[in-house]
C-alpha cells in the first residue's frame, strides 16, 4: 500500500519541493518591487502551510500503514466535523440572537456529508480503505461546510429583510413553513451555484484538484475522470442535503409551533 500511494519521503521529492519554492521567491520579489505588501504574510503562510502539510503527510503515512486505521479515522473525522461546524457557525455569526449557529451547522454538515459518503461506500464506489475514506471525508465535510455557511447566511438575511412580508402572510393564515419556502429555495439554490458551475465547466475550463492529483500519480485519465465525477456527485449531494437540513433547523429555531416568527 505504501509503495502504491508513493508517500515515501525521498531525496528526489525534496529536491522538487525546493525547486518549486523558486516560485515563492518570485512572489516575494514582485510584492517588494510593486509594494503590494504581501511578502511577509505570504512567507508566514507558506511556512505554516508547509509545516501543516508535512505534519499531515506524516500522520497519514502512519494511519495508512496501520492495521487499525479506522481507530484513527474516527477521531480524525470527528475533528473534521467539529471544525467544520465551528467554522461555519463563525461565518454565519451571532447576528441573529435566537439562532445558535453551531447547533444548526454541526448536525447539518455531519448528516449531509455522512449521507453521501456512506451511500458511495455502500454502493462500493469508494473502497473502505483509509486512502479513500479520510481524504474524501475531508472533501465532503469541507464542501458541506461552505454550502452550509452560504445557505444560512442567505436564508437568515432573506428572512430578516422580509420580516414584514412573512408576518403579513402569517396573519393571513399561512403556515411558517409556507411563508419561508421561497426564501429557502433562493438560499439553497444560491449556495449550490459555485459547485454546480464547477461541475458545468469540468474538464473545459479547469481540471479539478483531485483529478490532477490522480493524473500526476499515473492513474489512467478515464479512471481519474470517473473518480472525479463521483467526487462531484458526492460534494453536490452532501451539499444539498446539508443545505436542506440546515434550513429546516433554522425554521425550527425562528418559528414557534404556533407559527410565530421570533426572529
Amino acid at each position: 500500500m505504501f509503495d502504491s500511494i508513493n508517500l515515501s519521503l525521498n531525496v528526489d521529492i525534496m529536491v522538487k519541493l525546493v525547486l518549486a519554492s523558486s516560485l515563492a521567491i518570485v512572489i516575494v520579489v514582485v510584492s517588494y518591487l510593486k509594494e503590494i505588501g504581501v511578502a511577509r504574510d505570504f512567507s508566514s503562510a507558506a511556512l505554516r502551510g508547509f509545516l501543516q502539510l508535512m505534519l499531515l503527510s506524516a500522520l497519514l503515512t502512519y494511519v495508512f500503514l496501520s492495521e487499525i486505521w479506522y481507530g484513527f479515522a474516527v477521531p480524525i473525522i470527528t475533528l473534521m466535523i467539529l471544525l467544520a461546524g465551528y467554522t461555519s457557525a463563525r461565518r454565519v455569526g451571532a447576528g441573529v440572537a435566537v439562532v445558535k449557529p453551531i447547533v444548526i451547522t454541526t448536525p447539518s454538515i455531519t448528516a449531509g456529508a455522512l449521507f453521501s459518503l456512506s451511500t458511495l461506500v455502500v454502493l462500493g464506489v469508494i473502497p473502505t480503505e483509509p486512502e479513500f475514506i479520510i481524504p474524501l471525508s475531508g472533501m465532503a465535510f469541507g464542501n458541506s461546510m461552505n454550502i452550509c455557511s452560504l445557505t444560512l447566511t442567505r436564508l437568515l438575511s432573506e428572512i430578516k429583510n422580509n420580516k414584514d412580508k412573512i408576518e403579513a402572510k402569517l396573519a393571513l393564515g399561512a403556515t411558517s413553513d409556507f411563508t419561508v419556502r421561497e426564501y429557502e429555495r433562493i438560499a439553497i439554490r444560491w449556495s449550490l451555484i459555485p459547485t454546480i458551475d464547477n461541475l458545468r465547466t469540468l474538464g473545459v475550463i479547469f481540471i479539478p484538484g483531485a483529478m490532477t492529483g490522480m493524473l500526476m500519480a499515473g492513474i489512467s485519465p478515464v479512471t481519474a475522470a470517473v473518480y472525479q465525477l463521483s467526487i462531484f456527485f458526492m460534494i453536490i449531494s452532501s451539499g444539498i442535503m446539508t443545505s436542506v437540513i440546515a434550513s429546516h433547523f433554522v425554521k425550527l429555531r425562528i418559528f414557534t409551533q404556533a407559527h410565530q416568527l421570533i426572529l
Binding site: 414584514d164 396573519a171 393564515g173 403556515t175 414557534t256 404556533a258
Partner: protein
Amino acid sequence: MIEISNIRKRLGSREILKGINLSVEKGEIVAIVGHSGSGKSTLLRCINRLIEVDGGDIKVNGVSVRKYNPVELRKIVGLVFQTPVMFEGNVGENISYGLRISKNKDLAYETEEVERIAREVGVQEFLSSDANSLSGGEQQRVALARALILKPKVMLLDEPTSFLDPKSGGVIENLILKLVKSRALTVIWVTHDVSQAKRVGNRIAVMQKGRIIVTDKSERIEWGKVYV
C-alpha cells in the same frame, strides 16, 4: 366576542402590556387610542397570536386563543397593518393569497370572490397590475380585500390610515367603516388620532404606557384628563 383578561407582554427588558382588560361585543367597533409606544400594536398582535402573551388570556367567541389552531384563528381574526405589505405578483394574486394557500382550493370560487371583493374595495381595474406599483391608498385597499376575502368574524386594524395623506385617509376610513358594518364585524381599531377614534368607535379605550386607563363611550370620557 373578544374578552381580554389581564394580559401581560414583555419584549426584551421592557414590559409592553401591563395587565390589559377589554371586552368587545359582537358587531361592536372599539377604537383604542394611545400615543406611540403605548402598546396598541402589540395588543393586536397578541389577539391573533402573531406573538404570545406572557400572562392572562384572550378569548374569541368564548374560546381561548391558545385553544385555536393558530392558522385557523388568523383566518377568523383578520389583521390589517399600518403599512400595507404587498406580496410578489399582481393585485388579484395578492387578494386571493389566503384562499390560494388553503387546502381546499376552488379556482372558480376564488376568481369570483376576488372580482367581487376587488369591486367592493375599488381596485377592480388594477387586478392584473403589479401590486407593488400601486399608491399607498390603493395598497391599503388591497390589504383590506386580502383580509376580508377570508370572511373573518373579527377585524383588527392597526392605524390603517396613519401613513396616508388626510384626504386619502378619510376615504379609506369611510371605506373600512362601510365594509365592516355591512359584514357586522367585530372590530378593534387602533389609532393615535382622537378625532378618528371618536368618529369610528362605538366605544373608545384609552391606552397609556401598557395599560388601558379608561373604556367608555366618547362623550363620557373626560378627554382633558386622560389624553394629553
